[in-house]
Homo-oligomer: 297 residues x 2
Amino acid sequence: MRDAYPSRQGTTAETLPRQDAIAYAPWHAHAPLTREQHAAFERDGFLVLRNLFDAEEVAALKTEMASLLNDPSGLEDETVVREPKQDLVRSIFRIHAQNALFHRLAADGRISRIIRHLLDDDVYVYQSRLNYKPGFGGQEFYWHSDFETWHTEDGLPRMRTISASILLTDNTPLNGPLMLIPGSHRNFIQCRGETPENNYRTSLRKQEIGVPDQHTLTRLADEAGIVPATGKAGTVVLFDCNTLHGSNGNITPDPRSNAFFVYNAMSNQVTEPFAATSPRPHFLAERGSVTAVTPVE
Amino acid sequence: MRDAYPSRQGTTAETLPRQDAIAYAPWHAHAPLTREQHAAFERDGFLVLRNLFDAEEVAALKTEMASLLNDPSGLEDETVVREPKQDLVRSIFRIHAQNALFHRLAADGRISRIIRHLLDDDVYVYQSRLNYKPGFGGQEFYWHSDFETWHTEDGLPRMRTISASILLTDNTPLNGPLMLIPGSHRNFIQCRGETPENNYRTSLRKQEIGVPDQHTLTRLADEAGIVPATGKAGTVVLFDCNTLHGSNGNITPDPRSNAFFVYNAMSNQVTEPFAATSPRPHFLAERGSVTAVTPVE
């Protein structure tokens, strides 16, 4: 079978056109988002839904996060990732499978119904995590397309996958917000190099393979700009699996925390990795017997 | 002689009131800045002068900078500082003494007349540098008061020193702009620890000593906020030597370059360091026979 999205093939770094839909269903009057929102997601590759969760809901999620950060001993060891230069917890993966409140959040109808509509399929949680991103030196995350990594290292076949970031603290331009390049989801940027063995162990801390070249990034940013997904706590950012994004570090005192869920279409489950010797562990990319999300209201 | 601003005395980290004036002369009708600008500098500890240099002037300065970055071989070795993780030039120090165009810029009346007014004295260039701050991973610079370093390591006696940053590229909230804490110049924040031998060799790349504690930074930022000094190329940012400032890293493609001059009152020349065994080299803090700046129009 020909690989629709070859990458990490040595020195080749072409820009290939996307071969998949963005929204898999057209907008209709009963869709769980407006016509404008639907169009914006197709055009930009992301959508910011302001204040989707209220202050009380955010407070409950933050309390739960604080207790997990404070005592991560009940969690699977490998799901707890720390900052490169500090001993602080940066992320807790597979949070939807380890905590009841975040399990419920993953299924929340305000998010999952939109995802199911856009992907026009049942969906499952491909990956989930709680990102603490502390103040006073939280590290940057360099530009990348998630799909490039998930395709090469996990065997995600096609672009039918959407991420949702639920902001748990106010995200300002200064505390290292998610930055996206609008329209970048319309092409697949091949990356140079080859996947090292157990790449995920270092790439979760600092990504060095699977990143687009500077020339291409400069061109895309010059053409379309860079948009920070800022908003108050309770805001939700949805973005396509192939939208280029990254974030600066954060020396401000304010942490930039979020809960993060990746939803994949049931029809788009992983195969073998397209450019790695063995797939990443389950806590990074669910595989095998997966369960469809049932939206809860 | 009692030290008016003791710091790096071990475990003590108190907040002491400033014992010096901010503006040393009152505003008057012939002052080279408006009454509002004068008041803002006193209140905030900084002042942003938008578009002080026009596009043609900026272009000439950028061309000169590019040629220096491209071939730094004509410069004194020790004045060229590189990025911690890349081989790119981060800063060139003592630029006013090594290059005719930047020598003239240091004396430009649009800046130096304001400084002379605010400090009510003849001034000399205490330190100068060209900061390239490249895109795609330019590093952060953690919160600090310049005065704390200059006092402890150079022997700068009192707070009668002002920095001017001339923006050579557009500074946006996303490309690692200078961030300042308004009003922080009104107190002296003691720092813990002691100055290591030759501290400047590492502190120019990453400052770890002479930084305020997180508790104090959080309190100040909560009270007064954090202001990014953004603006188009040609904008000038003036700030008091004791205003807390820092900058985030920059993964965007856009470099965040500036020319940077520190002006000290002639009456405030350095003595012996207040908390270090030997003073930093001349390229970081001019000492000995210094020459007053004559404003050029």
